[in-house]
């Protein structure tokens, strides 16, 4: 019997007992559907995290801070004694946590550490407000992108680091309060930023809006206004008016670049070197690693449930095919009497099982993709409206194909038990069967 004829027979045999076939396919469908949704969930969330990672920072960069002397004391826990005043302490923004400000000397020290390619000191710029066209002023914080960092944009472009023009990107939440009619409307307009110097004098700077940023989950800039290098310099200069050079050069943290090809071990060595000098280095992987691990764990558990559903379905396949073998005893006997080999009989029944699996998984995956897209769309507007850019359930072709192959494989394996029985059938016995 030719293979094509064999496949044709297997497919048409599958539809001989329609009700039974449909019920078996339904069982497989449930497993494939669940597996597709759970793995889609993993794909969606991890894709979102990957996008966010590039928003947080470049993968070959780490943030270096100088911990306070008493950093070992956790806020709210341990020592009852009041902390001694430290003139160099800088608030990190997290209550109770502070780091020691880094000076130019510190930056030089970091630059001298083995493995450090480049250091970029992070200045603290604290503007008073941002205002558009004499409208209501709103308070704002300022952040800037370091090379290698990207952000998710709703409109326009990221501020050009090399431009001499003063450029700014505002968060999407500022668009309407400032008085713009839409994200696109904001792009190209000029806003006013006000900043107070050490002598309590307020200065204003005009900057062009070049983009509108989406709020991202783990962006360090958060709801900040993004400035380009030129605007950052201008604001910092204004803020430092009246300060001595030594007082002005205070940095909360520095970004350190290392070899992009560095292995985990090499990065660890770099961290140890920094620690010897009294600094703490944190990479993006350190910051996000735990999140990805937790999500992978959850997805793994969900996938395990889907696999259990598939196992239950595979018993359904075994049952269906055993019944089919029983019903078709005489037909099997006849085919063997007519010279069909046991191997071909085995293949015929295994193919029927694999076809059941293929049908069930294709339908399950197809409907799961439709349902998943619907759920994502619905969730994006309601439950997850605060996380723009997140597609809750995403599908990548490789994992979808892998699911179909896996389910078909499981069905094929389940089919081998009845197929062996069919292959072993004795034609004389089978033909006597009434």
């Amino acid at each position: 019997m030719r293979t094509t004829a064999l496949i044709g027979s297997a497919v048409s045999n599958t539809f001989r007992s329609k009700t039974r076939t449909i019920l078996t396919i339904l069982a497989i469908f449930v497993g494939a559907f669940t597996l597709t949704l759970t793995s889609g969930l993993g794909t969606g969330i991890n894709a979102y995290l990957a996008d966010t990672v590039s928003g947080v920072g470049a993968s070959d960069a780490m943030t270096v801070t100088k911990p306070s002397e008493d950093a070992a004391t956790l806020p709210g826990a341990g020592s009852d004694e009041p902390a001694e005043y430290d003139a160099n302490a800088v608030d990190t923004g997290i209550p109770g946590q502070s780091v020691t400000a880094m000076t130019s000397d510190d930056i030089d020290t970091v630059e001298g550490v083995d493995g450090v390619l480049r250091v970029d000191a992070q200045r603290t710029i604290t503007p008073d407000y941002v205002q558009f066209d004499d409208g209501t002023p709103y308070t704002a914080t300022v952040g800037s992108l370091v090379p290698g960092q990207t952000t998710v944009l709703a409109a326009g472009a990221e501020p050009d680091a090399d431009a001499s023009e003063l450029q700014v990107a505002i968060p999407v939440a500022y668009v309407e309060p400032l008085g713009f009619s839409s994200d696109d409307d904001a792009v190209g307009q000029t806003v006013t930023l006000a900043i107070t110097d050490a002598e309590r004098t307020q200065h204003t700077v005009e900057a062009t809006v070049v983009g509108v940023t989406e709020e991202a989950l783990a962006s360090p800039t958060g709801q900040s206004i993004l400035t380009n290098e030129a605007l950052g310099d201008a604001l910092f200069d204004l803020q430092s008016t009246g300060l001595t050079a030594e007082q002005a050069d205070r940095y909360t943290s520095a970004t350190v670049w290392f070899d992009p090809a560095a292995t985990d071990d090499e990065i660890q060595v770099l961290k140890d070197n920094l620690a010897d000098e009294g600094f703490t280095g944190t990479t993006i992987a350190d910051q996000l690693g735990i999140v990805t691990t937790v999500i992978d764990g959850i997805v793994l558990v969900l996938n395990a449930f889907a696999i259990i559903a598939l196992l239950a379905a595979s018993f359904g396949i075994v049952n269906t095919l055993y019944m089919s073998v029983q019903e078709r005893t005489r037909e099997i006997g006849l085919m063997k009497a007519m010279g069909m080999g046991s191997g071909r009989v085995f293949t015929l029944f295994s193919l029927e099982a694999a076809f059941l699996g293929l049908l069930g998984s294709a339908i399950g995956v197809g409907i799961a993709m439709v349902a998943g897209s619907g759920i994502s769309a619905a969730a994006a507007d309601t439950l997850l409206a605060d996380l723009p850019g997140l597609t809750l359930i995403a599908f990548d072709p490789v994992s979808v194909a892998a699911i179909i192959l896996l389910v078909t494989g499981i069905a094929f394996l389940a089919g081998t038990f009845p197929a062996v029985r069919a292959a072993r059938a004795d034609p004389v016995e089978s033909l006597r069967y009434e």
Binding site: L334, M338, M340, L431
Partner: protein, 233 residues
């Protein structure tokens, strides 16, 4: 004299062992020449079905030999055995063994499908066989919807389709009324006469046996009578 198409020498066959041992055949020997029509007659339990299964190479003898055109069939194994059965034999059963949900044509082309013959060729030869049995107009009907006579003619078309040299007919008229049975008998003997196909009929119907060239009577696993038609008449 030419080599007999089937030559059976001292064939024994028993089932079970010890107390439950049942000897179905106890030393059977005879030759069948090509083009003969032979009736194997006997009561149920006489061993005639076992003999047919051994002749059709569906079962192996406990001892003794079955030679097909002078070649010992004990040498045939696996795919060679399957190919021999597929090309040499056609089967007609009392219970038809048609797949009811498949069409008449699909049932008829099954042996060619097993032989690995292409779709177009299968269709052409399947239709030719149905034409020969005046069933061409029923080709697309479901086998389950046929009458008994039509079913048995379908079975004969299926037995014929691979141009076999021997047709085994196990009680071919057992499930048919007299008139339909007579038509089926005419077809079988026509094939035997006109196409030279060797016909081996297993039956307990004496009238059918009487139409064959030769009649072999089996009782308790032994041949008790082997008579030519002219001698019997």
């Amino acid at each position: 004299m030419s080599t007999p198409i089937i030559s059976v020498r001292d064939v024994h066959k028993s089932y079970g062992r010890g107390q439950n041992r049942f000897d179905a055949l106890r030393g059977v020997s005879f030759d069948i020449s090509e083009g003969e029509s032979i009736a194997i007659v006997g009561k149920s339990g006489s061993g005639k079905s076992t003999l047919m299964h051994i002749l059709a190479l569906l079962d192996v003898p406990g001892s003794g030999t079955v030679a097909l055109e002078g070649n010992d069939t004990a040498q045939l194994r696996g795919s060679r055995l399957n190919r021999t059965r597929n090309k040499t034999f056609g089967f007609v059963f009392q219970q038809f063994f048609l797949t009811g949900s498949n069409t008449v044509l699909e049932n008829v082309v099954l042996p060619m499908k097993i032989a690995g013959i292409g779709g177009a060729e299968r269709r052409r030869r399947g239709m030719a066989a149905l034409e020969q049995l005046e069933l061409a107009d029923k080709a697309k009907n479901k086998a389950a919807n046929l009458s008994g006579g039509q079913k048995q003619r379908t079975v004969i078309a299926r037995a014929l389709v691979n141009n076999p040299r021997i047709i085994f007919a196990d009680e071919p008229t057992g499930n048919l009324d007299t008139a339909t049975g007579a038509v089926v008998e005419d077809i079988l003997f026509g094939l035997n006469r006109e196409h030279g196909i060797t016909l081996i009929v297993v039956t307990h119907d004496e009238d059918l046996a009487a139409r064959c060239d030769r009649r072999i009577l089996i009782r308790d696993g032994r041949i008790v009578e082997d008579s030519r038609a002219e001698v019997a008449a």
